[in-house]
Symmetry: C2
Subunit: 468 residues, 2 copies
């Protein structure tokens, strides 16, 4: 049935509009009453996929269950021991950050870290021999994430390295992470000089055992509580871990002193911990993994449970799609550079540390850490705006991670693939930058986003499952 337009205009107009402002403004200028609705066309995704995921009747409650588990998760540091012990890791199996990758596709920093690890494990006498073993497959590769572990930057974790064990007393999970080496010339940034290998040996021979002994005396350390306090102290838990590292030192220093080690070893360990303001990152990351692992494998759930980069590809996993990785090319961060380095020296995005943003801290909670703009670039208003923007792609707010300057609003938590597709807002990650050339180490820190492709592929997979 059609009605003549004249009849419509015979009475006062009352109009609801969506989209561009031109139409409502034209009407308003003629005295019509106009209600505008904040609706935009979806940024990406096939209409039938968006519709299938949006109409999936399991989705809302699945996403609620996922974020309830994330919010409830605890994280206690319970043990420190060798990766061989903790992860039942064979000496020829090397773990790395990000989604699966073959050595032939590895970028400089991952190559460098793998070479260094082969020499540290005594499998190779020099870089050439290491490369030969890695190319031939005599050293095998597997993602940390496939072993309940996470690793910052290259994330290379091998049998003789010491790792922390964290437990979630609420959901019952376990997660592991290596000990943080500090900044500069370190294995995780792809450096493998003698200094790097020697430090790893000291960490296995002195640091790890002394932390383990101290932890037995102190009892478990509540990592979630430290992370919560960090957000009150100008840290966002990814590239600012200053307060967190200090609180960790505070909690363990007394029992480090009492554990029976010689005074010079005690002093060396206290000096190492106090001199490394990123030491806590390697506790925050497994704490985040515990929370997100608790949200895995919920049918119909469109919440992201991992974002990880191997230096070549960026990969995400969602709760509703099991162990599948949705990948795209890793982007190169933009930010601030150390010393004489510049953009041409930076490797594409690398590391499992984007698990912090997946939890809702890191780049998502930059409003809590305005001083970080001096490290990763940008302005203070950008930092505040970034956190506000992340609320638009997340399911809920985490009251445990309260952001004081936003009047104690909780961190934006539970990235929803559908919200990302609808808004086109990609998760904001802040990150360290490794040198592109193996052996370089850190060159800077900056801001980066996942490629949209990861979310496009995840949407397709979620839609296929919704229809099946």
């Amino acid at each position: 049935m059609t009605r003549p337009l004249g009849a419509l205009l015979a009475h006062p107009l009352s109009v609801v509009t969506a989209g561009v402002d031109l139409f409502p403004e034209a009407l308003r200028s003629q005295g019509a009453i106009v209600e505008t609705v904040d609706w935009r066309p979806p940024a990406f995704g096939a209409p039938e996929d968006l519709a299938a995921v949006a109409a999936d009747r399991r989705r809302v409650s699945a996403n609620r269950t996922a974020t309830e588990r994330i919010l409830a998760a605890g994280a206690d540091l319970v043990d420190v021991r060798s990766a061989a012990d903790a992860l039942d890791l064979d000496r020829d199996l090397f773990l790395h950050a990000g989604p699966p990758i073959e050595f032939g596709n590895a970028s400089g920093p991952l190559r460098g870290a793998l070479i260094g690890a082969a020499m540290f494990e005594g499998l190779a006498a020099d870089p050439d021999e290491a490369v030969a073993m890695l190319e031939s497959g005599r050293i095998r590769l597997d993602p940390c994430h496939h072993h309940r572990a996470v690793g910052p930057m290259a994330g290379v974790t091998t049998a003789s390295m010491w790792v922390s064990e964290l437990r979630d007393p609420v959901n019952g999970g376990t997660a592991y992470c290596s000990l943080n080496e500090g900044l500069g010339k370190v294995l995780r940034y792809g450096a493998y000089s003698t200094e790097v290998i020697d430090r790893l040996r000291w960490m296995g021979e002195v640091l790890g055992p002394l932390l383990a002994a101290a932890l037995i005396r102190s009892g478990p350390i509540d990592i979630k509580s430290i992370l919560a306090q960090m957000l009150q102290m100008g840290d966002e838990g990814h590239n600012r871990n200053r307060a967190g590292s200090l609180m960790f030192l505070r909690d363990l220093a007394p029992t480090i002193a009492e554990a029976g080690a010689p005074a010079d070893q005690v002093a060396d360990v206290l000096r190492f911990l106090g001199g490394n303001e990123h030491f806590f990152l390697n506790y925050g990351m497994p704490a985040a993994k515990l929370a997100l692992d608790a949200a895995r494998d919920i049918p119909g759930c469109s919440v992201v449970v991992a974002m990880a980069r191997n230096g070549t590809e960026f990969g995400i996993q969602t709760s509703g799609t099991g162990d599948a990785w949705f990948t795209g090319p890793a982007q190169t961060p933009e930010g601030l550079f150390l010393g004489g380095y510049g953009p041409q020296d930076a490797n594409p995005d690398i590391g499992d540390s984007s698990i912090m943003e997946t939890l809702g801290v890191g780049g998502f909670s930059m409003a809590a850490a305005p001083a970080i703009v001096r490290f990763v670039g940008g302005t203070v208003p950008d930092a505040l705006a970034t956190t506000r923007r992340m609320f638009r792609i997340t399911v809920t707010e985490n009251p445990a991670y309260a952001i004081p300057v936003l009047e104690f609003r909780g961190a934006p938590t539970g990235i929803d693939v559908l919200s990302v597709a609808r808004t086109g807002i990609l998760p904001q990650i802040n990150t360290g930058m490794a040198g592109r050339v193996a052996g370089t180490g850190q060159v800077g820190a900056g801001l980066v986003k996942p490629p949209q492709e990861c979310f496009e592929k995840a949407l397709v997979a979620l839609a296929a499952l919704a229809r099946s």
Copy 2:
């Protein structure tokens, strides 16, 4: 010469107005061009005094000199030793916070702290004997400020207590402060039970000597640098000293371990430092005093160089008026209370710790520490607005104390008596609250201002000197 009003109106009006909005609005509605000037009548002060101080030709450059010295001042912790040694203090001379006071006028917490100190010094066997000695004048009282020292809350400092010595390598000053006892039942809040006295003994026998030995090995600790970093880490340096206390622990822990003390003493000291998130306050305060003492005694200078309270009176000193104190009745803070305590339990404002606000941190830099509203009351927007308001009564900004959320604007520095009189804006102090009854300890924390009377009297004195 008078002109007819008609002639004035014969041409288009161009008007400059100050004061109430009614007049410019009436003109604007008639199409006149109006420039409004943000001028208000002075809030207090006799017109001739305001004019004399404003017209003092020395004032602008004197205030500039004062704030240049404040900004340039450094603060290195160089020694820890007994007050008898450091301050050449006789056992019967007790130092206290705030302007001079006689025992008969002392409020509960100051009485309690003096009683406890008399027993700690072995001068009295019990509280009655202590009171008798204090009343008779056999124990003499003198302000900390008169001995290059500062003390938080009651501020009672006696010969056997250990104090820190700080030096300003730029202006050459020296300042002293006691060691912080922690929170709750402590001498500075007026408690004097056996637990309090025993802790003071341990601090003199174990803590002080071990800190001193560690400091010899570590070399001087840069307190100004820690204070600067605190403002990047959610501390404001008066009632939040969490990050500062942790950084102090970090800096000294290795040499505490190496100083040759038994492992259990090392662990006890590390536990005490780690368990006391206000430990750093007693380093921030003498650092502030160093900076402000450097600004003393500049003729014509209207900058405040001390704000201090003895629990009965609030006193201020200005650079241009020598050692004179300008006093008024101490106000009672409003804020949040511990356990079952309420407003009726709170003593009026007490302590030298308002030296932090005199420097430009503490209440003046609350924008750097939004989480503090959970401790002292108020809202996050209040905290931001408070710092912005303090810029209106201060001469300059201190770039060393940058406030990230205000886009790294420096802390408002150099309280100008004339600006306080003109605006009526009183300095904002945040503070601990002591129990009104001697022996109670801390009952809460809150916000408080000096009585206007202090500034009225200072203005009169500055005006008299300007005219002389």
